[in-house]
């Protein structure tokens, strides 16, 4: 069917972005295929009412964020909100090694990336979503405001607050690590 073929092309064009966003928002590879499939099925159902007042990409972000929120609620129900980075379903950052750096630097970067991911999962849903859309997906304030259905000023506030919490969390972690190292040495 021509419609399905066209939609298959839409899926192919946007699947990487949807998988990437969902992975960062949920912090886990668990059910990622199913979640991504839900995103596209919701898009398909919404297409008749899609008036073209936004890019399909922005519309997809809105759906992906809603799906991620549903997943967070499901996890909360299952009392499984804590995402362990040692979980074999997460840890996408394992494959981020830079070939031009030495092993020590790579290890340090890897640990820092893990720490950022851990702190990211501790933020509120809206702060995490805005940080991911702004930094990873490089969306504008306007696009994020549209995707989250909130004023641009609120987006700015959450972005600033989210980064501040992230920094404070990392600083706290670094302090604890230094203290632990001092205790071990003594």
């Amino acid at each position: 069917m021509p419609t399905d073929l066209t939609f298959e092309q839409v899926v192919r064009d946007h699947q990487e972005m949807v998988f990437r966003t969902l992975l960062r928002l949920t912090g886990s590879r668990e059910h990622l295929d199913d979640l991504a499939q839900d995103v596209f099925l919701r898009l398909y159902r919404a297409l008749p009412s899609f008036r073209g007042d936004a890019l399909i990409t922005t519309y997809l972000y809105r759906i992906a964020v809603n799906i991620a929120q549903d997943e967070w609620k499901r996890r909360r129900r299952d009392r499984d909100t804590h995402v362990s980075l040692s979980d074999d379903t997460s840890g996408w950052e394992d494959r981020l090694a830079h070939p031009d750096r030495n092993a020590e630097q790579q290890l340090e970067e890897h640990e820092f990336q893990q720490a950022v991911e851990e702190q990211l999962q501790r933020l509120s849903q809206v702060e995490r979503t805005i940080l991911v859309l702004y930094h990873q997906e490089e969306r504008t304030y306007e696009q994020i405001a549209y995707a989250l259905n909130m004023p641009i000023g609120t987006v700015r506030t959450h972005l600033h607050r989210g980064r501040k919490k992230l920094r404070e969390g990392l600083q706290q972690r670094q302090t604890q690590e230094r203290r632990a190292a001092c205790t071990t040495n003594h």
Binding site: V11, R24, L41, L47, E93, R163, R167
Partner: protein, 123 residues
């Protein structure tokens, strides 16, 4: 665009430098996008799910457009009828029918403008 500093103003220089460095690392880490493993044939699988579902009607109905056209024609007809009978009306009804004629003219103009804007938005 996406690496604005977060430095608070009340920190000493070394602390500020440390915070700046940390901010840069955080932004770099956030900008490092994950590389998800997309299953082969994912798009085809999603498309096959669509075939199994009830087909969505993509035929536009244009109810609003039809109502707009009917309204325009009816208003135009009413304007013509009023204009043709205007001279035959009694002088006491002159003001009332004049007002009615003006209202219908405004309504007709509004519909015509709306229709032309709607046509323009389809291009």
């Amino acid at each position: 665009m996406h690496d604005e500093p977060l430095t608070p103003g009340n920190l000493s220089q070394s602390a500020t430098e440390h915070v700046d460095y940390l901010d840069q690392r955080i932004v770099r880490a956030l900008e490092t996008a994950p590389e998800p493993q997309i299953p082969a044939g994912f798009a085809a699988r999603v498309a096959s799910q669509l075939s199994a579902r009830r087909p969505v009607s993509l035929t536009p109905t244009h109810y609003g457009q039809k109502a707009m056209l009917v309204g325009t024609v009816v208003t135009l007809a009413a304007l013509l009828v009023l204009a043709l009978n205007f001279t035959a009306l009694h002088s006491t009804s002159h003001a009332t029918f004049g007002l009615l004629e003006s209202l219908l003219s405004a309504q007709f103009l509004a519909l015509a403008v709306w229709f032309s804007l709607w046509r323009h938005s389809l291009r």
